[in-house]
Amino acid sequence: MLLQQLINGLTLGSVYALIALGYTMVYGIIELINFAHGEIYMLGAYMGIITFGLLTTLHLTSPTSGATLLIMMVMAMLFCSACGVTIERLAYRPLRGASRLSPLISALGVSIFLQNFVMLAQGPRDRGFPHLFAGEGIDLFGSRISAIQIFIMATSVLMMVALQLLVHRTKIGKAMRATAQDMQMASLVGIDVDRVISATFLIGSALAGVAGVMVGMYYGLINFFIGYIAGIKAFTAAVLGGIGNIPGAMLGGLLLGLIEALGAGYISSEYKDVFAFAILVVVLIFRPSGLLGKDISRRV
């Protein structure tokens, strides 16, 4: 059973990690807990279904076609990026100078708005996700690992690596790091801070969109409310790993998934969230900036 639980946990964790990556990127730059990020992920999932529907109408689909999946993911990424950038422009940029809590409340308003918009536009009932790659998998020492699970884990790792490369090897990445370190200085040095922030939201939202499609595929069922819980979990994962830190988000996500899976399997399904939070508290007591977070030493 242990192996199966590990597989369960790592897959679950990979999903959390993907969403947490977006959270952590945005936080690293503008110190905003983007409550609406979970909703972007939800939009990605819906976009997947809608794209599939469109392709079906145009007779372009096939259940085991990688191309179909790819198109769904690309469309979701495009849509979510567009939404993310728009939201940033509308709801967060005007609040950049204000206290830290104002954008938080604004994010909350966006979150409520998006949830209800989708509920009204797409209906409150759960929607089934098209069955792609269903049932394929391999047996491994008595446990089953499905194609989708492998795919999810691989995609997460890939995304994280890509993101790391982007942040550390490209010019825009450098600009992001500079802005994260000190926004004022960065703008004084000539970095277009607005552009950098928009780019951050673009990438973070795209990642959330991919996560949405993958989660839709993995569970087969979505509704307008999935962003809420996913958002909280992803935020927890990001904090666990050290918020603002990209490998940290990955680590935090995987850890959280493992803790939940092992907790639910071995200890108690009812209390697994309590267990997860308790571990978070313990970790933070010993490492107040998260597992991989930078120790913010106060310059006095």
Binding site: S102, I105, S106, L108, A121, D192, V281
Partner: protein, 414 residues
């Protein structure tokens, strides 16, 4: 901060900009709103969205007159409202004002029907909660996203003690507050070293832990079924049972809360909290014991939630874990931020608005929450500092600032 170069010149001019913006929003709403089976692919609805955005942008343009002074005008109007509030308070005789306010609070409900009185009672509960959270978030600057946990502690304390031990409302009221305070301190201890948003997630976790435990500890809390048959408050042989009676009870609690919180605000501990909020390092350098100050904030803040919880249980006579969700914590934080952190009057206004507005909007049925979300964004964007910004947050300093606290003095030298 220097304004960034606009790379596309066409966006500078207002009308093309409005057209492009409307098209953009229409495009964004297209995937979600179109229906493949409908005639014209259901493009009607996204077009509606485009039209709506166009109209709104045009309105904004008209109001703001080329987008410059208008925005300022609006800010000044809002500032004037907030300022009018403060000026009114300052200019009139404070005693007269308080008497008038108190008299209205006492007399007006007598003419209202039970629905409205119940809403006002709810406002009272949330004012108590928001004032308590104001201590933690507004004064001490500690982002607590799990405040509802203390509310639950108060409510379940009364629920359990009333149904199992038979204690009365008045006996449990102080107990509820005390127990909530203890939980507050318990929450405070592990988070002492945590900064800003780490604190937020742990407090969020704490709130969830309490709710999950309440939902699962069937033997004690009866799990999702909740506790039924909680005794109503009694006083000198008279039982509180009608809406107006509950209203006066919560009014009394609210007045007590305002009094105490105001005292705390002006006391040494209040100043220690704001000092800590504005700059922890400087505060510590000036001799403030951070640990004690934080724990006091958590503990005292939680106490009010405990009282509110006991009252809530006594009013509903039935409690269940569903009343104590993360969303409740968030709404209370909204009330504090929207009202203007740290200011008592602002918080009261924020709480009133966030309770009354959704109720008023019931006629919009399904669109109620959509409008609510949008309104929140709009309110924050238009007035980020909240309705009545606390006069103590001294950034622009001048002879007008009467309070002249220590933190303001430090700011002026930077």
């Amino acid at each position: 901060m220097p304004t960034p170069r606009r790379s596309i010149a066409i966006i500078q001019r207002p009308f093309p900009r409005i057209v492009l913006t409307s098209l953009w929003f229409g495009l964004l709403s297209l995937p979600l709103m179109m229906e493949l089976q409908a005639p014209f692919f259901g493009l009607g609805r996204p077009l509606l969205v485009s039209a709506g955005v166009a109209v709104a942008s045009l309105l904004r343009l008209a109001v703001s007159q080329r987008g410059g002074p208008g925005a300022e005008r609006f800010q000044r109007l809002m500032g004037a409202i907030g300022g009018a509030g403060r000026d009114l308070v300052g200019q009139m005789n404070r005693r007269v004002l308080y008497v008038v306010a108190l008299a209205s609070a006492v007399v007006i409900p007598l003419g209202l029907n039970r629905y409205h009185i119940d809403i006002l009672t709810q406002v009272g509960i949330y004012v108590t909660l928001a004032l308590g959270l104001n201590i933690v978030v507004g004064l001490a600057g500690l982002l607590d996203l799990g405040y509802v946990a203390f509310y639950a502690v108060g409510a379940y304390t009364y629920g359990l003690l009333s149904t199992r031990v038979g204690l009365s409302f008045w006996e449990v009221l102080p107990l509820g507050g005390l127990l909530a305070a203890i939980f507050g301190v318990l929450l405070g201890i592990p988070v002492l070293r945590l900064r800003g948003d780490y604190l937020a997630i742990v407090t969020l976790g704490f709130g969830e832990m309490i709710r999950i435990t309440l939902n699962n500890w069937d033997s004690v809390t009866r799990g999702p079924n909740g506790i039924l048959g909680i005794a109503r408050p009694k006083m000198l042989g008279f039982t509180f049972s009608t809406p107006i009676q509950y209203y006066y009870l919560i009014l009394a609690i609210v007045l007590l809360t305002i009094f105490v919180v105001d005292r705390l605000n002006r006391s040494r501990i209040g100043r220690a909290w704001t000092a800590m909020r504005d700059d922890e390092v400087a505060a510590e350098a000036m001799g403030i014991n951070l640990m004690r100050t934080k724990l006091l904030a958590f503990g005292l803040g939680a106490t009010w939630a405990g009282f509110a919880g006991v009252f809530f249980a006594g009013k509903m006579t039935f409690i269940s874990p569903e009343s104590f969700t993360f969303f409740e914590s968030v709404i209370i934080v909204c009330m504090v931020v929207l009202g203007g952190m740290g200011s008592v009057l602002g918080v009261i206004l924020g709480a009133s608005m966030l309770v009354i507005l959704p109720e008023m909007m019931r006629q919009f049925a399904l669109y109620r929450m959509l409008i609510f979300g949008g309104a929140m964004v709009v309110m924050m964007v238009l007035r980020p500092q909240g309705l009545i910004a606390s006069s103590r947050r001294g950034i622009a300093l001048g002879p007008k600032d009467r309070q002249g606290s220590a933190s303001a003095a430090v700011t002026s030298f930077r």
